[in-house]
């Protein structure tokens, strides 16, 4: 057990509105159903606690001091020089963020939570590193939100994830920003032999701009990556999202799944799978629903470099089919109920291997957004 600082009092001082916003991103202030918690408000880490044996959650500065080898994972999957945001982060003298270490063979189903809350400062920057060593399994729920009264600001985050041999990392990220906030996550994952990386992303509330394109490099045989994204672009929101998988070892496979809805905003859904080794498989699926005039722009790319790779994609963008609504109305549902039922079905991405508590969190975010359709 590692507890650098635990000051739940600070969390409890948050306004009721802010606590509700945080709850929607998956933060359990009372730690029910959580085995560890990290909470950063602006640039201050106010809570780091972990009760799971064999799992460590440590603020990044402390982690770099505690373990010499952590530096090998620092700016490794993500390059410092990638773009102006990573450069900005790299020159910070006082890096903030979280390092999670799951030691060899440790398997914990109860999620760890990492909460990043933008309250007063113009820019929040954070650098997270998740390391799952050989044979370990962890679930991380990252909730990122801004205070209900925060009008403008930016969140810049680098997340580097290392999935060791036979390890499994499930990372579920729920965003809950404000119309004036811009968000620039820069993430990359390296998956070794027999490792599995599941990434789930949910963003259904207004935001100014989100721009991210996480990459998973599958460097070991039989490595698996699956990205699932559920997003809603409200008027004024631009969501430039994507995910990339590089099938760099034999028998590696990846799936990129997106459900995007616009109620007036813009969604760019990118996807890229590169198959460069034998017996690799990849599939991109992007479905877009236009509820009110807006933009859903799907850009799936599949790239194979040898005969032993099999890649496919399917993309569809459109409105709800009238005959589907009327079918449900003929069974007695009102037009509103029928529409909501179909949207709910549209968003129902089956994420295999997802713990029930994470699925519930995703469902709660969908339910909350649904009332606004």
């Amino acid at each position: 057990m590692y507890a650098l600082q635990t000051d739940v009092g600070d969390i409890e001082q948050l306004s009721q509105e802010d606590r509700e916003r945080l709850a929607l991103t998956g933060l359990e202030v009372g730690m029910q159903n959580r085995c560890g918690s990290f909470f950063q408000i602006d640039q201050d880490v106010i809570q780091t606690t972990c009760g799971a044996e064999g799992i460590e959650m440590i603020p990044i500065k402390a982690a770099l001091e505690k373990y010499d080898w952590v530096k090998d994972y620092y700016w490794n999957a993500v390059s410092r020089e990638k773009d102006k945001y990573t450069q900005y982060l790299a020159k910070q003298e006082n890096p903030q963020g979280l390092v999670v270490i799951a030691h060899e063979g440790v398997k914990v189903e109860m999620p760890l939570q990492a909460c990043l809350f933008l309250r007063e400062e113009p820019v929040q920057h954070v650098h997270n590193i998740f390391i799952a060593r050989e044979g370990s399994e962890i679930n991380i729920i990252s909730g990122c939100a801004s205070s209900w009264q925060k009008e403008h600001g930016a969140h810049i985050g680098v997340t580097e994830i290392y999935v060791g041999k036979g390890a499994k990392v499930t990372s579920t990220m729920i965003h809950n920003w404000n119309p004036g906030i811009s968000v620039f996550p820069r993430s990359a994952t390296v998956v070794e032999e027999d490792g599995t990386f599941l990434s789930n992303y949910v963003c259904m509330q207004p935001v100014n701009r989100i721009e991210m394109y996480p990459t998973a490099r599958l460097v070991g045989k039989n490595a698996v990556a699956r990205f699932s994204s559920i997003v809603v672009a409200t008027p004024g929101s631009t969501l430039d999202l994507g995910s990339r998988a590089i099938l760099g070892a034999e028998n590696a496979s990846a799936e990129l799944i997106t459900r995007a809805i616009t109620t007036g905003g813009k969604v760019i859904s990118r996807g890229h799978i590169l198959g460069e080794k034998d017996n690799t498989r990849g599939h991109i699926e992007c479905k877009g629903l236009i509820l009110k005039d807006g933009i859903v722009h799907a850009i799936p790319e599949i790239e194979g470099t040898l005969t032993g790779t099999e890649l496919s994609h399917e993309a569809a963008v459109g409105k709800i089919a009238r005959h589907e609504i009327e079918y449900l109305m003929a069974r007695g549902l009102s037009e509103e109920e029928a529409t909501a039922t179909i949207i709910r079905g549209f968003l129902d991405v089956k994420i295999s291997g997802l713990p029930a508590v994470l699925q519930e969190q995703i469902d709660a975010a969908i339910d909350k957004a649904e009332s606004g359709f």
């Binding site: 005959h323 109305m329 003929a330 007695g332 039922t341 179909i342 079905g345």
Partner: protein, 243 residues
């Protein structure tokens, strides 16, 4: 139960049904026949109230209420149910969820009803997604068994169904129409579109109608109409002056 008077229906600005008059009493089952494109499905969809089927004149009265301009779901609440020939597949909507949303039945009751039509293994699947022809029909029958409408419209219940499924379907549809209830006490009514008449192997119908080019050309004994159509084709009905 259902009274249709002088009904004219247009689709995309073109009149598809002309001057339809149809009266279906409580407990009665009627058969609707006619060549492809004659307007049979159009009539069912207009009765259900689907968008795109514009009633330009005439009226539809159900159980004494004029439903001509009523929204689809209110018609369903009044007791009209429909078995679709080509229902849409709805991804993400589990059949059991749909059944629960359209009734007050509990899980166990729904499960028990599903078993009667061999659909218990489909409850956790997305509605109609990847279902075979027979499975789609059984899914439709199950939805109607849950919904329990007083007036049942069936659009070609035989199409795409193999013999074994046809027997099950026939018996279930007869059950939905309370054919096991004495004629005096029978409350439910039905209107069935059929091309083959196979459904008549499983239930008795009270009246038959032939629709050609959007007009009802004749009414009569359903078996007799079926026999004439089988022997002489719809050309005979074209010559029929009875309106």
């Amino acid at each position: 139960m259902l009274d249709i008077s002088d009904l004219h229906v247009s689709v995309d600005g073109t009149e598809k049904l002309h001057d339809i008059n149809l009266h279906i009493g409580q407990g009665e089952t009627h058969i609707l026949m006619g060549p492809n494109g004659s307007g049979k499905s159009t009539l069912l969809k207009a009765i259900m109230g689907f968008g795109g089927y514009t009633i330009t004149s005439g009226s539809i009265v159900f159980k004494g209420t004029d439903i001509t301009g009523m929204p689809v779901h209110e018609r369903a609440h009044l007791g009209i149910g429909m078995m679709f020939q080509h229902p849409p597949a709805i991804s993400g909507l589990k059949l059991e969820k749909l059944l629960a949303a359209t009734s007050h039945l509990g899980e166990d009751a729904i499960e028990a009803l599903a078993q009667t039509v061999n659909m218990e293994h489909f409850l956790a699947r997305d509605t109609n997604v990847g279902f075979s022809g027979g499975e789609i029909k059984r899914s439709e029958v199950l939805q109607l068994k849950v919904q329990q409408p007083d007036f049942l419209m069936l659009d070609e219940p035989e199409s795409g169904v193999d013999l074994e499924n046809m027997s099950l379907m026939g018996k279930e549809i007869a059950g939905l129409l309370e054919k096991d209830v004495h004629i005096v006490n029978r409350r439910r009514s039905g209107l069935i579109i059929t091309h083959t008449g196979y459904i008549l192997d499983y239930l008795e119908a009270d009246q038959g109608h032939v629709l050609i080019d959007g007009r009802i050309r004749c009414h009569g004994n359903p078996r007799e109409i079926l026999r004439v159509v089988k022997e002489k084709g719809y050309g005979e009905c074209m010559r029929c002056k009875q309106m």
